[in-house]
């Protein structure tokens, strides 16, 4: 259970930010590098190069970070108590996956106030796949009293490349978890800063206006022509950078994987926006997903030719 000596505003059961800080503390104690969010628009924490690229190759790696995740299609103009087009994922990547990874995860739940002696925690089959990243793994969704609170995945393949060793990925849905431990039914009612009275800041205070504005943008005003152009540009740039950075000699290192991968991320987000905007037909949809996947695969292969990738 959380440290009772903490100030009330630092209690993960009362404060959204304290929940994040508690997880940071927990995984830092375990030995993870605590990273900051990737500074680009991504659909999930997995897109962060600290997961996508670092899960490739032989090097050991342990990291934890919060990743703001954008799912333009999930916008509800701030009217749905559970759905957001922008939300936070807490992402932990442990490579190779330790043999006690389930216990580590359960202890992290304990740290944020979920006691397995009173809550029904279950590992329910859920195989994960990201068609755009050419990635898949086996694992579970973790249920707490019937609610999905995390995704738990053993990566088998990323960017179309077999993972050796295998990384364990833990993804916590922070808003859901916070709603659960704070006992609120509407995400906008979450206490963000753990203060009460005039000092209290809610999730709604921080994000409601953004949800309304972005929903409008995603569904009605995003400019499809521009987005198609951005998609094409990012795709071309990704390829150009991969070519320009390619090793000059056999067995040499690739020089520009990370900038190229950024362009793959950009293409992916442009696609997500176009999809939300209804600008992509059902038949074209698959084709766009494939194009992003090809970029991701090319970046993954290039990363294997870098120092961090084990070359």
């Amino acid at each position: 259970m959380s440290d009772t000596s903490l100030d009330p505003h630092m209690d993960p059961r009362r404060s959204f930010q304290a929940l994040i800080l508690t997880l940071h503390r927990y995984w830092a104690d375990y030995g993870c590098v605590i990273l900051q969010p990737y500074d680009m628009e991504v659909g999930a924490g997995t897109f962060h190069p600290a997961t996508t690229l670092r899960s490739l190759g032989p090097k050991h790696w342990m990291a934890a970070y919060v990743q703001p995740s954008r799912r333009p299609k999930d916008g509800r103009y701030g009217e749905n108590p559970n759905r957001l087009q922008h939300y936070y994922q807490y992402q932990v990547i442990l490579k190779p996956s330790p043999s006690d990874i389930q216990d580590l995860y359960l202890k992290s739940l304990y740290a944020i106030g979920i006691d397995p002696k009173n809550h029904d925690i279950r590992f329910v089959e859920d195989d994960w796949e990201s068609p755009t990243l050419g990635a898949w793994g086996l694992g579970w969704e973790v249920w707490c009293d019937g609610m999905e609170v995390s995704q738990f995945t053993y990566f088998q393949q990323v960017c179309g490349i077999d993972c050796h060793p295998v990384s364990g990925e833990l993804t916590y849905g922070l808003e859901r978890l916070a709603m659960y431990v704070q006992g609120v039914d509407n995400v906008y009612d979450l206490n963000f800063n753990g203060r009460e009275g005039a000092e209290k800041v809610t999730y709604g205070d921080v994000f409601l206006q953004a949800e309304q504005e972005y929903s409008r943008h995603n569904f009605e005003f995003a400019n499809p022509e521009m987005l198609f152009r951005h998609f094409a540009d990012a795709e071309a740039e990704c390829r150009a950078l991969l070519t320009a950075g390619a090793p000059k000699v056999e067995g040499g290192h690739h020089q520009m994987v990370l900038p190229a991968y950024d362009q793959a991320i950009k293409a992916s987000h442009a696609f997500n926006l176009l999809d939300a905007r209804g600008a992509i037909s059902v038949t074209e949809r698959q084709n766009y997903i494939l194009r992003v996947r090809e970029l991701a695969k090319a970046c993954g292969e290039a990363f294997r030719q870098t120092e961090a990738g084990g070359a």
Binding site: P81, K117, N118, V124, L138, D145, M147, Y154, T283
Partner: protein
């Protein structure tokens, strides 16, 4: 006799894979034991979310000694042949082989190979790692830095072997760094400490103390009884669901049944949608009010924990999730009844969804056009079929028009399994005719062999139109089912047509209903044969009555029934014997005189004996009566007419020598038999009937 206990302890095994996995474990291990010469008394396997367990009893302590004689080359054979023989038999010198003499082949070498039996424990130590490495999981994975594959990370292997009463030994082996042992762990939260076990008996009881019920059948039983009792105590009945029960029993090691509730206002949502919402997302059971039989605002969840607070928090958590899910379902249900943005001017709510379906131009199949085009074809076909099955053509056309509209509703988008059913519900809400609404749901039927067949004429018309459109369409583009490949479920569609026609005793010709070509008709014949065989009909009788152009399914079946009844009676059985005799004689004689030599009518003037005259006369009247009866589809009457031939046929064979010396007489008698053979064809092809 020693017993073997094996436990493969892992992270959570998907519930749906557990039953198959325990069966595979039992089979793989016991097959390998038997192959190695080890018999056993019994073998039983079990699965929980975290373990696969096998208990084999009554094994011998070692495998039997084996003696084998291996024949070698003859004495004096080339060096190479000798060397190969020595190597194969495991001998170091030819002196170790004996020489045997054979009167025909001469002297040759024989090696006597003796294999001493091996201790069973060593055999098991070889078998288990192999079984684990090659285990047929539907999906498996690697973890950490290893290369071993299992369904989820394998954490420990318990394997003991020994006599029923004394201490047992650990069967020593290692699988990718994982050494076998004799300890396991109990429930993840309630008894996580490791403990040692000796054999199955104390294993089961120790597990039970450590809050693990090993046997999935017992877990199911506990859940079912506790759920029934808990419901009953509050005045409710459990809505039972065998598949959900099996799944839930695979998610818990120690089932604890708890009851929660949701707001009554959600009961506005159709009961089936509530059930599916709660089942699909939460894996919970729903309840009915015992007095009214209506769905109650209660649910039952099965947790894996005896909570310190009695389950209060667990219930509260589940209630919150279910309320959120039902809020979504309520939103879908209400949205579906409202105007569809962008299509407000396209009529009633379902018509608006249909307009959207058409507007999206979703491709049904690249060669068969869009969903919209398919709907147009079904409308046209349903309107044409309607009068032939006693349905109002306008109602059939309207039902066909709306039949697929619910695919665009939110509820069906969320739960595809309620397609049709939701279409019916929404149709009634927008004031459609009841027969039209029923047809929207029933046009998909029958889905499988146990599904209900539609009986309402409008439903029949649309169901036939839907299925015949798919069949004629795929036949037209030559994409027919082959072997096990039938991606568009065309076999099911054809069987559906057959069952609808037969169950409703529809007097229709398939080629009159739709553009059924000869090949598709033959496909229907095949399906009909399968169906009739499953119902217990003799397939030779089906073959005997189906002609290539028979497209009246009901007539075929009635003919089969009449023929079956006929052959069961003495007259029929004897007539068949007479037929076979006649056919055999004709076959032999036609070989001499040529095919068709006796096809012309017999000459009455050449009939000399009373028995042939009698048969001739009987044939004339039997053939005309049987043909008339077949014409009016009175198959029993046709059979009765034929059965009158039994006595004259028997008498004919009794009294007449067919192969008379006079060639003219012989030919005439064969013509008479040929006439008899032809007479039987008015009702069936007797040559296809067995025995």
């Amino acid at each position: 006799m020693p017993d073997l206990l094996l436990e493969l302890f892992s992270e959570e095994i998907p519930a749906r894979m557990q039953p198959r996995a325990s069966e595979d474990l039992r089979k793989l291990v016991t097959d390998a034991l038997v192959d190695a010469g080890l018999t056993y008394e019994s073998a039983k396997a079990f699965a929980t979310p975290r373990r696969l367990v096998l208990n084999v009893t009554g094994l011998p302590p070692k495998s039997p000694d084996m003696k084998e004689e291996k024949k070698g080359p003859r004495v004096g054979a080339p060096e190479q042949a000798l060397a190969g023989f020595l190597k194969g038999a495991g001998l170091s010198s030819i002196d170790q082989a004996t020489v045997q003499s054979d009167p025909k082949k001469g002297d040759f070498y024989v090696a006597l190979i003796e294999k001493a039996g091996r201790p069973a424990i060593d055999i098991v130590a070889d078998i288990v790692p192999n079984v684990v490495r090659g285990f047929p999981w539907p999906k498996s994975m690697r973890w950490g830095s290893g290369t071993l594959r299992w369904v989820r990370p394998l954490q420990s292997v318990l394997c003991t072997f020994g006599p029923e009463t004394e201490d047992t030994d650990i069967v020593p082996f290692e699988i990718d760094g994982l050494a076998s042992g004799n300890s396991t762990r109990g429930h993840r939260f309630m008894a996580p400490e490791p403990f040692a076990v000796r054999r199955f008996d104390d294993y089961v009881s120790s597990l039970e103390k450590a809050k693990v019920v090993l046997d999935p059948a017992r877990r199911q039983d506990m859940i079912l009884h506790d759920a029934r009792d808990l419901a009953f105590a509050s005045g409710f009945d459990l809505v039972e669901d065998a598949a959900l029960l099996e799944e839930v029993a695979g998610l818990v090691e120690w089932p604890v049944v708890l009851m929660g509730s949701f707001d009554e206002s959600f009961l506005e949502i159709p009961a089936e949608v509530i059930r599916l919402t709660i089942r699909a997302n939460q894996k919970c059971f729903v309840l009915r009010d015992s007095r009214t039989g209506n769905l109650a605002n209660r649910f039952i969840t099965v947790s894996n924990l005896v909570a310190e607070d009695g389950g209060r928090k667990i219930i509260a958590g589940n209630e919150r999730v279910i309320a959120a899910r039902l809020s979504d379902a309520l939103y879908f249900w209400q949205t579906d009844q409202r105007a569809l943005p962008g299509y407000e001017d396209k009529g009633k709510p379902l018509d608006q969804r249909l307009a959207k379906l058409r507007a999206q131009e979703i491709v049904f199949h690249e060669k068969l056009g869009t969903q919209g085009q398919r709907i147009d074809r079904i409308i046209r076909l349903a309107r044409e079929i309607a009068p032939k099955v006693g349905a109002d053509p306008e109602k059939a056309a309207r039902a066909a028009e709306l039949a697929k509209a619910d695919l665009m509703t939110e509820v069906v988008g969320e739960f595809p399994e309620v397609q049709g059913q939701m279409g019916r519900t929404y149709a009634l809400l927008q004031g459609e005719d009841e027969a039209v609404a029923a047809a929207i749901e029933e046009h998909y039927k029958p889905q499988g062999p146990s599904d209900r067949v539609p009986e309402n004429p409008v439903s029949i018309a649309v169901a036939l139109a839907d299925k015949l459109d798919i069949l004629t369409g795929f036949w037209a583009i030559d994409e027919k089912p082959t072997g096990s490949k039938d991606p568009f479920a065309l076999r099911r569609a054809a069987l559906g047509v057959i069952r609808i026609v037969l169950a409703n005793q529809l007097k229709v010709s398939l080629r009159d209903l739709a553009a059924v070509d000869a090949d598709l008709l033959a496909f229907f014949h095949d399906r009909l044969k399968v169906q009739l065989r499953e119902e217990g009909a003799r397939h030779d009788l089906v073959d005997a009555v189906i002609s290539a152009d028979a497209d009246d399914l009901l007539a075929i079946v009635r003919r089969v029934e009449a023929l079956g009844a006929f052959l069961k009676a003495d007259d029929g059985a004897n007539l068949l014997a007479g037929y076979n005799r006649a056919a055999n004689i004709l076959r032999a004689e036609e070989k001499k005189d040529g095919e068709g030599a006796f096809d012309s009518a017999p000459d009455a003037a050449l009939l000399t004996e009373p028995a042939e005259k009698a048969l001739h006369a009987a044939l004339e009247s039997a053939v005309s009566d049987a043909s008339a009866a077949v014409g009016s589809e009175e198959f029993e009457k046709a059979m009765t007419a034929l059965s009158r031939l039994r006595a004259p046929v028997d008498a004919f064979f009794e009294a007449i020598l067919v192969n008379a010396e006079d060639p003219a007489l012989r030919a005439n008698r064969l013509k008479l038999l040929s006439r008899f053979r032809a007479a039987t064809r008015t009702v069936a092809d007797f040559s296809r009937i067995a025995g």
